[in-house]
Symmetry: C2
């Protein structure tokens, strides 16, 4: 684990009475230090995929960590409609963090593909605006893979926006069956594999505070 | 996904003027409703294991969710020494949640096994006290598998405490190589598998807000 030294700032005050030559050298050192710091803050594209639990949940863990570090973070949720029941939305309200449910209105019916495609594009436009606004250090697009896999949203559209983002911005994408092109582009990909699942094997219901 | 109805309460006020028979029936209904509610709140034993990212991070996501639901949650971290740098610890301070780093002093040297074993038992005692206090809805023991796998802590000691806990309490255990006996006992087990890792493949450092 790297230490936090990467994020140390260099002194910006310059002592009085420096020669032009010395001043020029100091300025160059400052520029190099800033460039180094920027490289240290490489923005990652992170994908949480697989059939197991923990894809959204781990993204929420990053939301918590980055919020704890005073970073600006937003989560856009493709499949969730706004209701009062979600623990993460209640938590976000208490924390003053944006978690935006986009999923209201999806029918998941193949006979209504045009409707769902139009809706998915509205959702995507909100994501794109957040990324291009450059107002965030971390942007999470939760369960976006479904919109891609259902044919509602072109992967290339998503990748183009990722390629053109501020290189210091972290982006997290979650959902089952992450497309190969996304895995290829991403920096960090984790598969959450189901080893044992109580709702299937024991008939236990989804639990408050755990699943929602 | 189950709805929140499981957690609805039944009316506790009984109207005046009920016959003994009616009162008895109402009481029986109340008892059954309480038992049903208790079954609805089955406490899960959750294990996040595997060689990939997201084990601790997903546990933090549950911490966030359960806190959002107004539940009482604590995370005990076996391998972390208290420093100011961790995003989750800074977040916890802001949220008023307990995240307790236990890992100060571990040498990880085989020639100091007795020292590490004694230390691991001190850590475990703090976990056991939290579980037995019955003051929490969710108890997270982060990276506890290492203490078990290094031979510092007996799995059976841990399982005994889990077996005797309040059955409504959720317990989350994280770390690589979860022992078979723990997987067998657990309700929900997820393996986080590394598909792609930027720190190895690209030499990118651990990033603030993401890893810490």
């Amino acid at each position: 684990m790297q230490e936090e030294e990467n994020y140390e700032t260099v002194p910006l005050e310059e002592p009085d009475g420096l020669s032009e030559e010395r001043l020029s050298r100091v300025r160059q050192e400052l520029a190099e230090a800033r460039a180094k710091r920027k490289r240290g803050r490489t923005g990652l594209v992170i994908v949480n995929t697989g059939n197991g639990k923990g894809k959204t949940t781990a993204a929420l863990g990053v939301l918590l960590r980055s919020w704890g570090q005073g970073m600006r973070v937003v989560m856009l949720q493709f499949l969730k409609a706004k209701t009062g029941k979600w623990g993460e939305i209640r938590a976000a309200q208490r924390m003053g963090v944006e978690i935006i449910p986009l999923g209201k209105g999806f029918t998941w019916e193949s006979d209504n593909l045009e409707h769902d495609r139009a809706l998915a594009h509205q959702c995507w436009e909100q994501c794109r605006e957040k990324i291009e606004s450059d107002q965030y250090d971390v942007v999470i697009m939760d369960e976006i893979t479904y919109a891609i896999n259902y044919g509602w949203l072109d992967l290339e559209t998503v990748l183009n926006t990722l390629r053109n983002r501020n290189p210091a911005m972290h982006v997290i994408l979650t959902g089952r069956d992450a497309p190969a092109g996304l895995v290829e582009y991403a920096d960090l990909v984790t598969e959450m594999r189901e080893i044992k699942h109580p709702y299937k094997t024991q008939g236990i219901m989804a639990q408050k505070g755990i699943e929602f």
